[in-house]
């Protein structure tokens, strides 16, 4: 369970103050699929980054498993990012010099110790899961955009995270490939994974349990049907 309580964020560019989030609160239960929508520049990414520890709010708290993650020390945040949270971006951000398998194993490659065999096996399962079993040893540059994004999903899955954060994961894909990514995510959600996804594509919100709109710095929860 992830609970955000009265979070605010203001950006300063020069002397101009830009209040992006104003006292936003939300409670997300385990296993939910949440869609975050809103105009461009409304603060969706900012909101998601605060929930996923990449950004600190000016005010307010984000509680995960009983701890306020906005005040955690650096090492605790790192282990949270490593074990519990997984993030997918609009761009796949794969390492161009690592193979598909190695990219999926990347979360485990920050140690001197070689990645254990059991983890490699799990990575291979994840690669099969996202349908890239045959492309395992290829470099990302040889894959299509959809395949690249599926590797990024695989990289997020390998650690069996508690929550998957996705910031416009289909933003850089055509409709058909985007649909494949979304149905993959929906399947993962059906297996119990909590997903918080920012999207521009209104047709995807039918997959969501809840839809939140960010507008003028505050969120409004709407029913999925009302979006059409």
């Amino acid at each position: 369970m992830l609970v955000a309580d009265k979070i605010s964020k203001t950006f300063h560019s020069g002397s101009v103050e830009n209040r992006i989030l104003k006292n936003i609160s939300i409670k997300i239960d385990t296993g939910q699929f949440i869609c975050v929508v809103g105009r461009s520049g409304s603060g969706k990414s900012t909101f998601l980054n605060i929930l996923s520890t990449l950004l600190k709010p000016d005010k307010g708290s984000v509680v995960f498993e009983g701890q306020d993650i906005t005040t955690l020390p650096e090492n605790k945040i790192n282990s949270l990012r490593q074990r519990d949270f997984a993030i997918i971006f609009q761009f796949h951000h794969l390492m161009p010099y690592l193979t598909v398998t190695e990219n999926v194993l990347l979360p485990y490659m920050n140690k001197l110790m070689p990645v254990p065999k059991s983890v490699i096996r799990r990575a291979e399962e994840c690669i099969d899961r996202v349908g890239l079993g045959a492309r395992r040893n290829m470099l990302p540059g040889r894959l299509s955009g959809g395949e690249q994004q599926r590797v990024a999903v695989g990289r997020a899955l390998v650690k069996s995270p508690e929550i998957l954060f996705a910031d416009e994961p289909t933003g850089n894909l055509d409709k058909k490939t985007g649909d494949e990514i979304i149905s993959l995510m929906k399947n993962l959600n059906n297996e119990g994974l909590t997903i918080i996804m920012v999207t521009h594509e209104l047709s995807y919100i039918s997959c969501a349990d809840r839809v939140v709109v960010i507008e003028d710095g505050i969120i409004k929860e709407v029913s999925a049907d009302s979006c059409y």
């Binding site: 990414s45 980054n49 996923s52 990449l54 950004l55 650096e74 090492n75 790192n78 282990s79 949270l80 990012r81 490593q82 074990r83 997984a86 993030i87 971006f89 761009f91 951000h93 390492m95 161009p96 010099y97 690592l98 190695e102 194993l105 990347l106 979360p107 490659m109 920050n110 140690k111 001197l112 110790m113 070689p114 990645v115 490699i120 990289r155």
Partner: protein, 387 residues
């Protein structure tokens, strides 16, 4: 697969950039090693050449009377009890000190006053072979004496007595052939007659006796005091004087060559490390997104720092090894061109290799510390938001 996979793969993928960095750094190390090797050899051979301009240690009989000289005017011949050294003992002792490899020449001398054409002249008995090692600057008109009754005369003697090459002169009822005349040296050598020391000893009934011994010591790697001390240890009954100014002059010439080499290699390494630093800076800027992603999946700042430092470490290690050995090769070639390499060998010393290697690696890593710190400070949200 571990954290080093990332920098290794990155280096391999950007092979052109890696090669360029390696070339720059290898050339830096190469020139450093070559300059130092060459300067050491040149310095040594410089010293050897300088040693040919006279001796730097004098071995005298111990004087237990007051020295009879005043204002540079030596009244030694007025002393009644002139003391002598035993040539064979002194020469073999000097040649057997611990630092014997630093002994360049041991030139014994017997100085006697004889009469020529009714005048007193100074006869100096010398060991020709050793004498020529320390009197390399001698210019001889004619040739060196070969037979015992051949003599070499100073320019002053030749002028005074009006004798020249091939003249035959009578000294105390023995006939000598003048085989050569010394060109003016501006020293005492101008006014004396040189002959074979054995011959002078035997005609004077002074077998194995000498007045003093001149020694030329090579002082690289050891202070002259050590050599003096070792000789006096073997010959306690002698007075030994080191001509410090001669030594200092030689060492300062050698020191200058070494200092110059040191400065040049420092500048080269500094330039090379700035280049490495620059390469790493652009690399960090190019890879900001990559760093952001790594941080977003739990890589610590230290992990990121290590990834960049390890890249520099790898460059340093490879360039260190390549540069050291190619530096050796280049030094041989340079010495060959300078024609200094004939009798000189550059030894491969493992400790020196290890020191150079560690130093180079350290420099390479040090050059990348600031860019790596910059990498570690990349904020993941900013890096990923900017598109």
């Amino acid at each position: 697969m571990n954290i080093f996979t990332i920098p290794v793969r990155n280096l391999r993928r950007k092979i052109l950039r890696t090669a360029l960095m390696l070339v720059i750094f290898t050339i830096g190390v190469l020139s450093m090693v070559a300059i130092n090797n060459v300067s050491r050899v040149v310095g040594d051979s410089f010293e050897k050449k300088m040693n040919q301009f006279g001796a730097n240690i004098l071995v005298y009989p111990k004087a237990d009377t007051l020295k009879i000289s005043y204002g540079g005017f030596d009244l030694g011949s007025l002393a009644y009890d002139i003391k002598y050294l035993h040539e064979s003992r002194v020469v073999s002792s000097i040649n057997n000190i611990e630092l014997k490899k630093n002994i360049g020449a041991v030139a014994p001398k017997l100085v006697l006053v004889k009469r020529l054409l009714g005048q007193s002249v100074v006869m100096v008995g010398v060991n020709w072979q050793e004498e020529l090692k320390i009197k390399n600057y001698w210019g001889i008109k004619g040739k060196l004496p070969e037979k015992p009754d051949d003599i070499l005369i100073g320019s002053g003697i030749a002028e005074y007595f009006k004798i020249d090459n091939n003249s035959v002169v009578e000294i105390e009822s023995i006939l000598y052939e003048v085989t050569g005349v010394l060109e003016e040296t501006g020293s005492d050598d101008d006014s004396v007659i040189f002959m074979d020391i054995r011959h002078l000893q035997s005609i004077s009934g002074m077998s194995d006796l000498v007045n003093f011994v001149e020694v030329s010591a090579l002082c690289s790697g050891c202070p002259i005091e050590d050599i003096v001390e070792q000789i006096s240890g073997k010959l306690p009954d002698t007075d030994i004087r080191a001509l410090q100014n001669v030594v200092k002059q030689r060492m300062s010439a050698k020191g200058f060559v070494e200092k110059l080499a040191g400065t040049v290699s420092l500048v080269i390494m500094l330039t090379a490390s700035c280049m490495i630093g620059l390469f790493m800076f652009t690399s960090v800027n190019e890879r900001k997104k990559e760093i952001g992603v790594l941080r977003s999946m739990g890589y610590s700042r230290l992990n990121v720092f290590n990834i960049f430092c390890f890249e520099a470490l790898l460059i340093g290690v490879i360039a260190g090894v390549l540069g050291y050995f190619s530096g050796f090769f280049v030094s041989f070639k340079v010495l060959e061109i300078l024609k200094l390499g004939e009798d000189i060998v550059i030894h491969f010393r493992f400790t020196r290799f290890v020191t150079t290697f560690l130093l180079v690696t350290l420099i390479s890593v040090a050059a990348s510390v600031i860019p790596a710190l910059k990498a570690a400070r990349v904020d993941p949200s900013e890096a990923l938001v900017m598109l």
